[in-house]
Amino acid sequence: MSASGRTSRAAAPLARRRFLAGAAAGAAALTAAGCARGTATSAQPGTTSISNDNATWDDGYRAAGRELKKITGYSLRPLSNPSVTSYQQVVQMTLQTSKSSDLVKWASGYQLKRLARAGGLTDLGGVWKGYADKGWVRGESRDAFSYRGTVYGIPLYESYYVLFYSVPVFRKLGLSAPGSWEELLHCAEVLKRNKITPFLASQVGGWPAIEWFQELVSKTDPHFYQRLVAGQASYTDEPARRAMDLWHDFMRKGWMTPPDFDQARGPGALKEGTVGMFLHGTWQSAGMAAAGLEPGTDYGAFILPTVRPATAKSVIAESGVFAVPSHASSHTAAMANIASWLDPSVQRVWSDFLQDSSANPTVRSSNPVVAALQRDIARDHRLPLVRYWEAGPPSLIQGNTDDLGGFMAGQTSPATTLRRMQDRAHDEWAAWKRDEA
């Protein structure tokens, strides 16, 4: 800076002070900025914000929002947090503040009940009634969207749990979609003989461990499944034991993928022909398309047959939920949009984006595989069952899912697994009822 040493020494304290002052000012500015109100969830004219835990759906929300804007004047502005766990924390905390978004994506059933009982959600009974009058919602599913008789959620989507299969592989081996339990076993045996793992089963990520449990129990006895998830039957009862024995038998025969097989690889495995059937929600259709699989030509889907021919036919259904926080920044706009969400014109766009069935039963899926499933469900009057994940108190479901994961890894026998699940059910149902009293 200067050739003179004297100048340097004299300037040093000043420079230091200037630096310290600058640093202090910078810190103060950062603190002020940190304390300032964010704008992400603030009201923005002509839009409603929507909290979402699936960033891959953002384009779908925007497309559906453009249709909504034609009806209500408000589009959708997705705010995504892809980590499900942190998303849940953020939503639960912001519901109690004035910073909540206008619409919140959540799960139905007990997940919604738990959120609703903490307060902070808007009563959507009027909206539900409007939809029910037009036939745009299934009346029997009202309980999955209610807490203590009040509706707090509107269906966001509706998916079914089905077995996807590879059409070319089945054709090559002379197989067709099984219509009975015996045909299913035959398919599995043929696939196994041809060195193809018949079924994809996974516990990667935790929750997929419920998929085979809910399917096998409900296809053994759907009414027992309903009683079981309502806390009115025991996990150690005969239908649950039979279902677990079937599952155990499938594993012992090598019909299931190892439990650390990631489901994200499912579409690729079907395409390669290393896995024969992939049990998952119909929302997986979008994943199939992403893997370059065409519905009908590359993959098909069927609902798992009942174990006995006389057993009532059922289907596991999963519904996401839109809820409106009481303190939504644009509450009026949010209510307008939620009142038109199930409008067929909006659902056409949304269903096409998801390649899945719509929550509005009058809207047929444009995906021929899903449309065929919808027809099958309607024709056979299949009993819709709430997915296990949403069907009981969250602490119970989480604990039992862990136990099922342990069973899949061979840590516990079917009997031990069921006994543990029942012990937990006993405690958690008692805790839930105490809280509700």
Partner: protein
Amino acid sequence: MSTSLTDRHPPTAAGGTAAPRRTKRRTPLGGSRHGLRERLMAGGFMAPAVLLVALFLLAPFVWTIYRSFFGDSRTSPFSWFDNYTLFASDPALSRSIENTLLWVVGTVALPFVLGLAIACLTDSSRFSRLARLCVVLPYALSGSAVAVVWNFMLTTDGAVNQVLTNLGLGSLTQGWLLTWPGNTLVMILANAWQATGVAVILFLVGLQSIPPETLEAGALDGATGWQQFRHIVLPQLRPVSIIVIGMSLVNGLKSFDLIWVLTQGGPGRATETLAVSMYNETFLELRPGAGAAIAVVLTVIVLAASWLYLRRQLDVKGV
């Protein structure tokens, strides 16, 4: 601190010479205005750090202790030590403690032994730089990235089993991440793969600070290579060893990211450590009281282990 600060004052700042100032500085602080000013200044400098620690570390910790005495039902009633009794009654937490102990032993022993061996072998060898780079590189990766790499290796249809099959060792293939305690042990190995790098760096620094005269003297006295290592090198690496073991001890107790990405504590909560259990109970099982109790126990263990270890080691003369 005050000495170094005041030493930096320009000699003429107080209008006197350096000598009287030095005398003045050495008077007891209490009572004098200057001493008070220095203390206020020191307090002012320390205040931001103290405030931040109090606000973001101590206050949440006190709140966590408080929360651990309340139940997890809707009304969160005061429940005395109920959350702490879970350690005796919940098999998942018992397994979590076992795993934490395995992690502590593994993360202390493996990086220490491997780090020391690699540092000694590469200290003066021809390819030492390349070898060191290979060992140290994983340390630059985040725990999550390491977990993604090892996930590719360890899943049932992953690289390890494929290599074994191709070598005709198909009977050795297994679900590495599926059965306990094998899954915990392979994750400890994966962690050692990453953590050894920092141990190597520290031991190399230690080795380079050993005066060569001591080794020459040993050689003149007829000490063999092993004897030189055992009686000359190893004692002089003691300060570095203390740091390596201390760091590994704490890292072992709070291991989380690798486990979370590889197994999420599963299957069936078999691979949880206390840190993972704390997260699981709080955010997945929705039992913040139980999670708080685990956090308190974990903190006490970390503090106690660190204190006991460091108190014992740092008393050693010259450290």
